[in-house]
Symmetry: none
Subunit: 225 residues, 2 copies
């Protein structure tokens, strides 16, 4: 199930959003300020972010631009949920790279529908449940994968690696960034650890294993659809 970060200083609004989203099955993490949000981002990156613009410690627009700058986070969908309601505000928010812009006061049902629409569109997560790329499905709750509708047993590292590739489907991930993300260490050219995992992933995924492409001298990517 998709994980959503809610960055909002008004407690009532934050809890309303969180409750509503949890009610339809999403996992949520509430952040009351930018600082809290950043520290949460260190631990784990979400599948979507709801962002208020006016926050006590930092402007939401500035937070967005930072998110978009980082290699690891730049693809995360962001929805502004804010009291700034003029057309110019909306345009500014969207043009900065937000995916949607909802103005307060908003209807909770509409919020949910917009979140669902975006998550559906990302194509990554389906029916709030699976991560999908072609014939590969990833079930976050069970921590297992399916390839061509058949269950595939993955070990922890294999799962993490595949998930990272899937979330960034179509984008080349450098060996550096993969090592950083999955092994939290720097890439050492003499180590064949990553290659070994790629190999076993390819093997276990069968025909779908061909979707994992090598980019010589750079890294790997998942060739989706």
């Amino acid at each position: 199930m998709a994980l959503i970060y809610i960055v909002e200083d008004d407690r009532t609004i934050r809890e309303t959003e969180s409750f509503a989203l949890r009610d339809v099955g999403y996992r949520t993490v509430e952040c009351s300020c930018a600082a809290e949000f950043y520290s949460r981002m260190e631990e784990q990156t979400p599948d979507l972010i709801l962002l208020d613009i006016i926050l006590p410690d930092e402007d939401g627009l500035s937070i967005l631009s930072k998110i978009r700058l980082e290699q690891d986070t730049c693809r995360i969908p962001v929805i502004f949920v804010t009291g700034r309601v003029t057309e110019l505000d909306v345009v500014k928010g969207l043009d900065m790279g937000a995916d949607d812009y909802i103005t307060k006061p908003f209807g909770v049902m509409e919020l949910i529908s917009r979140v669902k629409a975006l998550i559906r569109r990302i194509g990554v997560i389906d029916e709030n449940r699976y991560l999908i790329s072609g014939q590969i499905y990833l079930d976050d709750e069970r921590h297992t994968a399916y390839a061509n509708k058949k269950h595939v047993e993955l070990t922890y590292k294999e799962y993490e690696l595949l998930r990272y590739l899937m979330v960034n489907k179509g984008i080349v991930l450098s060996r550096d960034s993969i090592m950083e993300k999955i092994w939290s260490c720097n890439y050492d050219a003499s180590s064949r650890t990553l290659d070994a995992h790629i190999k076993s992933l390819r093997k276990k995924l069968g025909t779908e294993g061909n979707c994992i492409k090598t980019v010589r001298n750079v890294g790997y990517f998942l060739d989706g659809e």
Copy 2:
């Protein structure tokens, strides 16, 4: 640039939308009714659809569900642009599979920003994502190139070299600076390494290869546009 179909029976609104989108560089096709839309879809599928809900011959919601059923069209982003403004209408539209929902009367700037946001997210052949020079496209995310819309396999050095030429399109780059930048070493007149790479680039780029011009005694440059 992305192609957008506008399905809207009100001529004024339709032309306003079309004009605004063309103004920022999109190509548009106007359809005043469902029938016209379907016949256009036979010819060509767009990158995005703006859909009114109330149309003379068929309901927009019904059109959407048909679009979503077809294999070829189900991934096309759809934005409802409509006068039905209650939260329930919005929720219904989004839950049926629309990507966004804009209510009339709408601001033209907001419309454009929402279209851009969606196209950015989808990653259609949106020119903003690529480094472009004439018919040569470079996709940093995939670390690949396209010449005349066709995919071209490039090796690491070839990619780096082409990218350097493209970033400095129209500017002559000395052999020295190219060697410095791509090989991080000084130019040695007796080495034919650079020439060899230029040759293979020209070959792989086909007709576009002619854009790489030699400046005797100095270096090379990319003749763009």
